[in-house]
Amino acid sequence: MPAEFDATTTLQQYAHPERLVTTAWLEANLGTPGLVVAESDEDVLLYDTGHIPGAVKIDWHTDLNDPLTRDYVDADAFAALMRAKGITPDTTIVFYGDQNNWWAAYALWVTSLFGHADVRLLDGGRKKWIDEGRAVTTDIPAPADTDYPVTQRDDSVIRAYREQVLAHIGNGPLVDVRSPAEFTGELLHMADYPQEGAIRGGHIPTAHSVPWRRAADETDGTFLPVDQLRAIYEDEIGLTPQDDVIAYCRIGERSSHTWFVLTHLLGFENVRNYDGSWVEWGNAVRVPIEKP
């Protein structure tokens, strides 16, 4: 049985408040049957230094990506992961992590590809929980295996491929969520990530630049109030909730965060994440590139 929703007033402004929980709500609800807390970090050791009591670790690299093909795990591997983490199809999964929930949003998006119904983010992520002095532990939970069924991944609704992006140019909005220097092509990779590079710099023609981090408060990492999010995505770049939107970044993780904001916080109905992103586009032969 899924957990109750967080009825905190500040969450109710969003289109789908049931997709967020506050740190106070999570602390009060830890241990509730049907609730699994999952930490997904950029730093693979961070969970082991201390995590929210009872939280399991889901690693974006080793758990969610296929080790051979550049793709997500298949249905069998995903079901095996859910079983090992004590998750059933009815479980409420609350994701949280470092870097403003960057990787937590990615794990939530991949989980959504497999149709898991009740997935939520901890507003403010790991940093807010720790800054508030809430409990952490190094105890690793050992959940009993579940019988999570094998569910096929549906890549048709919230995931976009290169050919679809190509056809989208001039026909629908694209949002580039990378840093400004990556957008202009000054950098062929994100600052500090020289190895995730591309042969060519710039952006996909017609794309709007909205760095993903703008959706979060600079101090505590929580999502901005809905009117400020609307000001960015609707007033500033002219999106409307009915638009068919494709977001991209470098390998699709930062754009998962923007996908979450547009879909769950602003209620956009047709947002896809192009996970091939710039590592594919900037290395692909004969795709158009724009440079200011």
């Binding site: 950029e42 730093d43 050791l45 961070l46």
Partner: protein, 141 residues
């Protein structure tokens, strides 16, 4: 490769896969704190841009003396701390020649590439390259 570093590489390689990350975490915890003179003079430390987290290093080279290495990384960046600590335990106190002879890709033999995204493993080579550059500069100074 310097013996101390070689032994660490072997230790990782010989550790069962599921215990390698806990071992790296032990290294992260064991990174010694900076001496007061560097805490007082943070500008003397060089940022390592290849790391995803803020990481700083300093290298002290004196003629005829063992090379001293110093690293600083936040507790919330245990992977970078762990890499720094491996280099510290393996190379601190070595001779300039021992440090300069370290293979740039020595860490590939540690068996961490299945566990840490290969894209993130390069922070280690960034640190080593900077250490070597500082040692080479110190010898010619």
């Amino acid at each position: 490769m310097r013996d101390a570093l070689h032994e660490i590489v072997e230790e990782f390689a010989d550790t069962p896969k599921e215990l390698r990350l806990p071992l790296l975490l032990q290294f992260a915890d064991a990174l010694p704190p900076l001496p007061q003179r560097l805490l007082d003079d943070r500008d003397a430390m060089e940022p390592v841009e290849e790391c995803t987290a803020p990481l700083f290093l300093a290298v002290e080279v004196e003629p005829g003396q063992p090379v001293r290495l110093f690293f600083d990384a936040p507790r919330e960046a245990p992977t970078s701390r762990g890499f720094a600590s491996v280099l510290h335990a393996g190379l601190d106190g070595g001779t300039p020649d021992e440090i300069l002879s370290t293979p740039n890709d020595f860490y590939l033999s540690m068996g961490l590439d299945d566990l840490v995204s290969p894209l993130r493993m390069r922070g280690m080579s960034g640190m080593l390259a900077r250490v070597k550059r500082r040692v080479a500069a110190g010898m010619s100074a």
